[in-house]
Subunit: 248 residues, 2 copies
């Protein structure tokens, strides 16, 4: 067996998330179906760096899987890329160490979150950016962003009901970029890991700050309270992109 690491991109619109499940089409099922065909009908299991929810996109999701033969890498990549459906692209394939694990060995993840702010809503962005048509003072958001940097308990920014006990995470980067036309925001978050729906709750909170409905200096207070009710709403999944995953 040879362990392969692959970087894949997908348009999450028509997937019921990354992870295999009884109902609905998922990224894992489609990639595994393709690998099974390539492997003469023998099943191959893939492991992702983490799940993504329905409607969430990936520019650089990382997976690993074991495959019986060592094959030329570009041929492997091309076969996977062209035989998976059109909403999945395979950007690179390499051979990994036998003990490499796409989920357990993650040291850093980057997410992007796109928010369309023009009126009327562009029909071309409806699956690829969240929409916020209300007044926004970007300076208020820029004032709040640095308070997210560093190591914090992010309980207030985590959807309730998850099984993970330790809610301490470190954020290295929290930036806001506006496109040239002024029609779309991109939030960039880079950290050692993110809790369930954390990015979407962060963005929901930051948009409320920009809209003047949560004070710009309240992030430290919200973090300290460890109370999901103090943060803003969960932003819609279509704006979220898993952009990059880094390993040791």
């Amino acid at each position: 067996m040879v362990r392969y690491k692959a970087v894949i991109a997908y348009d999450g619109t028509h997937f019921n998330g990354f992870q295999k499940q009884p109902n609905g089409r998922t990224v894992q099922q489609e990639v595994e179906k393709t690998l099974q065909k390539m492997n003469n009908g023998e099943p191959v299991t893939i492991f992702g760096s983490g799940r993504t929810d329905a409607g969430v996109h990936a520019l650089g999701q990382v997976i690993h899987f074991d495959y019986p033969q060592e094959r030329p890498l570009e041929r492997m990549r091309f076969a996977l890329d062209t035989q998976t459906p059109e909403d999945i692209a395979v950007s690179s394939v390499e051979i990994a160490a036998d003990d490499f694990h796409a989920r357990y060995h993650v040291v850093e993840k980057t997410y992007h979150f796109k928010v369309q702010i023009e009126k009327p809503r562009s029909p071309f962005r409806r699956f690829y950016a969240s929409y916020f048509p209300y007044p926004l003072d970007l300076n208020l958001i820029r004032q709040a962003l640095p308070d997210l940097l560093g190591t914090h308990d992010f309980t207030s920014f985590c959807a309730t009901g998850g099984a993970i006990e330790d809610k301490v995470r470190t954020i290295y980067q929290a930036d806001l970029v506006v496109n040239e036309a002024g029609t779309e925001l991109t939030f960039i978050f880079r950290g050692n890991g993110f809790l369930y729906k954390m990015i979407r709750i962060l963005v929901g909170t930051l948009l409320k700050i920009g809209n003047g409905r949560i004070p710009a200096d309240s992030i430290p207070e919200i973090l300290a309270a460890k109370d999901r009710n103090l943060a803003g709403p969960t932003a819609h999944p279509e704006g979220l992109y898993l952009a990059e995953v880094k390993y040791k």
Copy 2:
């Protein structure tokens, strides 16, 4: 009756083109359905600046229609924008002269054609750009573009079987723009009118020129021959956008 002029954008992916027809969902049908609801169930007919084929998009299609009452324009625009399906946006509504005609009074149209050239094909562009993964010398294309400018008989760049006799059109602008990342080309064509599938055949021909399979200086010869067989293939509809329509 008041005559209104409106500018609309649409994502052509899930439409069987602009024009009403017995089979499939069309832009005209969806807009007319909305206007009929707004007009207490009385039907309203819209007239577009021209048809667009299945899969073709619009950034600035222009329509006109007659409506019994004069209503506040922003309210009219907002009602139309929010009540039409999400893949149609209504950018502006204004009152037009009683004899204004969205089709017959056109003096200039601008089309964009987008071609994705990166590998692998981005899953996010599959409905919004044509794909050309073969070698391309953009300088060859740039050499050929000026030969399209001016007034010519474009029979060689027109799909056969159309009813229009006069195939003389004037092109004012024929440009090629590359995005910053170098992953996507945009062709821009502005002229007094375009024949059926003309932009797609022009792009198919220009890509063959860039690929070295048609000489860069052969446009005058292809025009002079008035023979569709000398031009390149018809590029796919998903790259085409009706960008702007101008009137006297």
